[in-house]
Symmetry: C2
Subunit: 353 residues, 2 copies
């Protein structure tokens, strides 16, 4: 593997000194970029794009050609894991994800096994290897997976949901069955992330998109517990370096202290709390990643720059902050506004280091 030229991102996640705040964006390889839309159109379906390592590598690298980003993130989807568990994933155009075989009964859960990442998810591992080769050590590559709870919401509902009626029905009515489902999913995610690390991922992030839909008690029992289990079983070193783990529960601002005890190196934070408060609450236990409202990017460059300044000031001096949005970038954002955002972090953050 090529030596890493820019390790600012990895160092900030471990709260080691950096010269400026590193920056990347969730969903940075995405529909707001015309070159992404062109590659996606040529590939066929969204899953065709995910399953083609060369094209997945191409879209992963596209934002890095435009912007001075400090990390690349594997182009993939959190639902590759339940797909590999045999649930039959498809994306109907404009409809969101759908599973042909949702998980509803104890027989459905019992039928689930842990996929071999180098077999059923080989296309992801090939993408990781291809991207690492093509990156030539420019910036680190982030691997990722969905949290067991978040994956379970899709697996039980059969797709996206606003109310989580079926999965929460299972939670309250058959908590043991849901725990069984979460256990096997956690094992699948652990194997999947370890395989990504073995293939070349230099940091990993666990996306708990729907943990914030739970009560504090259920969050701990049905989401955080399994994420902590995964974190405890990851290979945290590769190529002679530490592999930092980032944990992101959207809407989990109330539970930062609990998350800081998960064993993760860093926590993702959405825009509903100030980084100053977040930092004060987690102390020196973890780094923080976030937290600009993605909607700020609808604004012209000047307000974007002001918001960047506000967030940098809110975190304050010293390492331990990775600048990011508080959620994925929206598809109708002007790429020039992204440029203004990234450049503002470059320009304004050295004063804090």
């Amino acid at each position: 593997m090529s030596p890493l030229h820019n390790d600012r991102f990895l160092r900030a996640l471990l709260r080691q000194p950096v010269d400026r705040t590193p920056v990347w964006m969730m969903r940075q390889a995405g529909r707001y970029l015309p070159e992404y839309r062109a590659t996606r159109a040529a590939a066929g379906s969204f899953m065709d794009l995910c399953k083609n390592p060369q094209l997945a590598c191409e879209v992963t690298l596209q934002p890095l050609r435009r912007y001075r980003l400090d990390a690349a993130i594997l182009f993939s989807d959190i639902l590759t894991v339940p797909d590999a568990m045999g649930l039959g994933l498809s994306f109907a155009e404009g409809e969101g994800p759908q599973f042909a075989k949702p998980v509803r009964s104890s027989a459905d859960v019992a039928a689930l096994g842990v996929p071999d990442p180098e077999v059923e998810l080989r296309y992801v591992m090939d993408a990781v290897r291809t991207i690492r080769r093509e990156l030539q050590g420019d910036v680190p590559l982030i691997g990722f997976a969905g949290s067991p709870w978040t994956l379970a919401t899709y697996m039980v509902e059969g797709g996206s949901s606003k109310e989580f009626a079926k999965v929460k029905g299972m939670l309250f009515e058959q908590p043991k069955l849901l725990h069984q489902l979460l256990e096997v999913t956690a094992n699948a995610v652990t194997a999947y992330l370890n395989a990504q690390i073995a293939a070349g991922a230099q940091a990993v992030m666990i996306f708990d998109t729907w943990g914030g839909a739970l009560t504090p008690r259920d969050y701990q029992a049905f989401s955080l517990h399994y994420m902590s289990q995964i974190v405890a079983n990851l290979n945290r070193e590769a190529e002679g370096r530490q592999v930092p783990v980032i944990l992101f529960t959207k809407g989990g601002g109330g539970w930062l202290e609990l998350m800081a005890d998960s064993g993760a190196d860093a926590l993702g934070v959405d825009w509903t709390l100030d980084l100053s408060e977040a930092r004060q609450r987690v102390g020196r236990r973890v780094a923080l990643q976030g937290n600009m409202d993605p909607c700020v990017l609808y604004a012209p460059p000047e307000p974007i720059r002001e918001e960047v300044a506000t967030i940098l000031a809110s975190y304050g001096h010293g390492s331990g902050h990775v600048f990011n949005l508080g959620h994925g970038i929206h598809q109708h954002i002007d790429p020039a506004h992204v440029e203004a955002f990234i450049e503002a972090v470059h320009e304004l953050s050295p004063a804090y280091h």
Copy 2:
């Protein structure tokens, strides 16, 4: 007006002693009830039902005939106000609300006026008067309105939104224009709630469904500021009694202390924080209303009862708690499960008073 036989709800909102914890449900007059669906089908469209005071009264009273609830809530919709401001509201079947004339430009904002509630919203005031008459003092009637920020999201987007691209675009790009829109909307809401109180509403609730989508700073400037302004301008006494005001920001658990300073008597709380923590944070300043996850009602009676017990224990001893869900009841809930919920509050709560 008939004298009030059961004032438990009003007393709890003012933290006065009660014999047991009062209980009602957001959206208790709704689609989970077969008798609601029958009335709704006979009425025509959803707005036809809202605009017919006799039918609005009928569906308001339906849940009270089934369950031992401690309050009735006016059957209406938060979007009646922007409709009366001339935006042309319709509900396409299965599509959610739509405005024919969304607010986008400064000319659009300048064209908005404050409706006269007894003229443009006469049908709501007639519904309030009809319901009060038919209630015969059994339980108090709650009036309500949407918060200016929440109404503005619909007014600017033209309907429901997941990303709030247009209204947040306006927030970051033309904050003064958005403030102008919020100001006139706040004036409209103030007049509307005062008219409801004059017509017979015995408590009022402000629904800030989308305040939780903002940053802490923007929440204060664009949502809480206008709610506090409304609260300050309400007529807080009618028929010789205090008219309590409840403020509910969904996803606003991080900002309870700020909300407690709004002048409201009580705060609605969703299920993402424990009532024990909420109570500790707001102290004796306000009462609390909530906070069972509506999904608990998918479970059978026994887990429902356990959850009620947990929430009662979490709030603890003494007045100042109104039992409710943390959001509106879902449409596919079994009415027998609601019965189990309400009865559990009746049975288990006296021990705390």
